[in-house]
Amino acid sequence: MSDNEDHDGDAPEQARAGNVTSLPSATHRYELRMLEALLFASAEPLGDDELAARLPERVDIPALLSELQQAYAGRGVNLVHVAGKWAFRTADDLAFLLRREATEQKKLSRAALETLAIIAYHQPVTRAEIEEVRGVSTSKGTIDVLLETGWIRMRGRRRTPGRPVTYGTTEAFLDHFALDEVRDLPGLEELRGAGLLDSAVPIDFLVPSPDDSDELKEDEDPLETGDMFADLEEEDRSGGAGDEEDTSER
């Protein structure tokens, strides 16, 4: 037991080192044990005064603390000084032991699914265009959730007044939906064949053939630095109606 020996070894060493403090090594050890137990059992970090109140009077608390701290220095648990008080804490490098990953299965809301579908089929597409297809305004939250899935991305800015951000799908989108390329998304006839569209759709009803190529279109400008954050917020401010829609639609 290397740790124990280390510790046991300390007392005689100290005794040898200085005769003044050598005498009460059993007492010293007992004091160290008391301090250790107090700090271990306490629900809160303990300050010097709190320790003093619980330990016998003549105990040299600072000396004991620094000894205990050294004893635990290389260990799995360390004695740390936090906010002027003392507490045992798991060593920083072992924090990963106390972490567990939990994956939560979440389902996309209908609004998010619809928005995602429009982005997939109509990309590159702006928020205003999504709203036009859906017939309702789209909350920023919906776009945010989709960005979080990693399935959509901001592609650029449309070269029109207001220079709105254009959205498109990502490779992760293709991965998730097991699509080889975005052009594999079924077209009008296939949707109808699958019974997803009934035959009563108007004559001018079109299902675009999607294109997620990285290359910007002629009417797209690249995103500027900072677009990732600042401009989304800007959009949010302009689309005040978005939040209302979120609740009404479901």
């Binding site: 306490s42 939560e104 979440k106 389902k107 429009i118 017939g135 569209l197 009803f205």
Partner: protein, 291 residues
């Protein structure tokens, strides 16, 4: 342990076979077996060498005294008393050879066993309570570091969900635009009601458009509003209620309430029809009937 309840009753509670201590209420005992155990202790001998006969007598005396004092005794105590009376008789009477029942000695042994077992349970309970107990003598880590759970969302959606969402919303929107068109048609009755109300309230010539402006805000309704309003105004002219004027083709069409046919006069017969109900609402009632 000082802070545990004692297993033995305090001495002053222990009843003497005779004397005022008997008045002690039975509530102090955990049932007849407990009472017997307490009585047995007063024999001051090892439980294995106890005189069951003497014990039975002590118990019966206790119960007898209690009844004399009209103390309420729980049924348990009386059942035990009856059993002990039986035991006593078995112990005192000579053995009967042809008896299938257990002998008095066997019954006494059974009782002694139960007393010893109860006492043993009390002893081990005390020993258990005197162990180093968590939260009293030994302590766990006061500030345990709980395992932090890092949540990662995994979004689920199938290609079918996606296509369903796409197809259904596109279809939904292609259908709703038709139904909006239907709803935006102005009926002749609507136009007549509104014209009667608005034109009747004004005194002079005014372009008919000025009355309709607020109803033509939605472009898809514009045509319908104009057409219905025009037809309605022609009808009102035929009835002699309003006059129309137009300086030349495609010029603004002016309309006014015909002098003499005041709004009040026209309202009067309608109000009669509506059985004297609120005049303001009467035109609606009339128009509804026409429909």
């Amino acid at each position: 342990m000082a802070d545990e309840e004692p297993f033995e009753l305090p001495l002053h509670d222990a009843p003497e076979p005779q004397g005022p201590a008997l008045v002690v209420d039975v509530d102090g005992y955990e049932g007849p077996l407990d009472l017997l155990l307490t009585l047995a202790r007063s024999q001051k001998v090892d439980l294995t060498r106890i005189s069951i006969l003497a014990l039975a007598e002590q118990y019966l005396t206790f119960v007898h005294e209690a009844r004399k004092l009209r103390l309420e005794l729980a049924a348990d105590y009386l059942v035990m008393a009856a059993w002990l009376a039986y035991l006593k008789s078995r112990l005192l009477l000579p053995e009967q050879k042809d008896d299938d029942e257990p002998t008095g000695e066997e019954l006494a042994a059974a009782l002694a066993f139960r007393l010893r077992r109860l006492e043993a349970m009390r002893e081990v309970a005390a020993r258990l309570m005197n162990r180093n107990r968590l939260g009293r003598d030994v302590f766990p880590r006061g500030a345990p570091e709980t395992v932090a759970v890092v949540r990662r969302s995994e979004w689920g959606a199938t290609i079918y969900d996606l296509l369903m969402a796409y197809a259904s919303q596109r279809q939904r929107n292609s259908v709703t635009s038709v139904s909006v068109g239907k709803r935006s048609v102005w009926s002749l009755a609507d136009a007549r009601t509104i014209l009667t109300r608005l034109v009747g309230a004004a005194a002079d010539w005014a372009p008919i458009d000025s009355y309709l402006a607020t109803y033509m805000a939605r472009p898809e309704e514009r045509v319908s509003v104009l057409a219905s309003a025009f037809s309605a105004s022609l009808e009102l002219v035929r009835e002699g209620k309003v006059e129309l004027r137009q300086s030349n083709p495609f010029a603004p069409l002016y309309i006014r309430w015909r002098p003499g046919a005041t709004a009040n006069e026209t309202a009067a017969p309608q109000a009669d029809e509506a059985a004297q109900e609120e005049g303001g609402r009467a035109p609606f009632t009339e128009e509804d009937d026409e429909r």
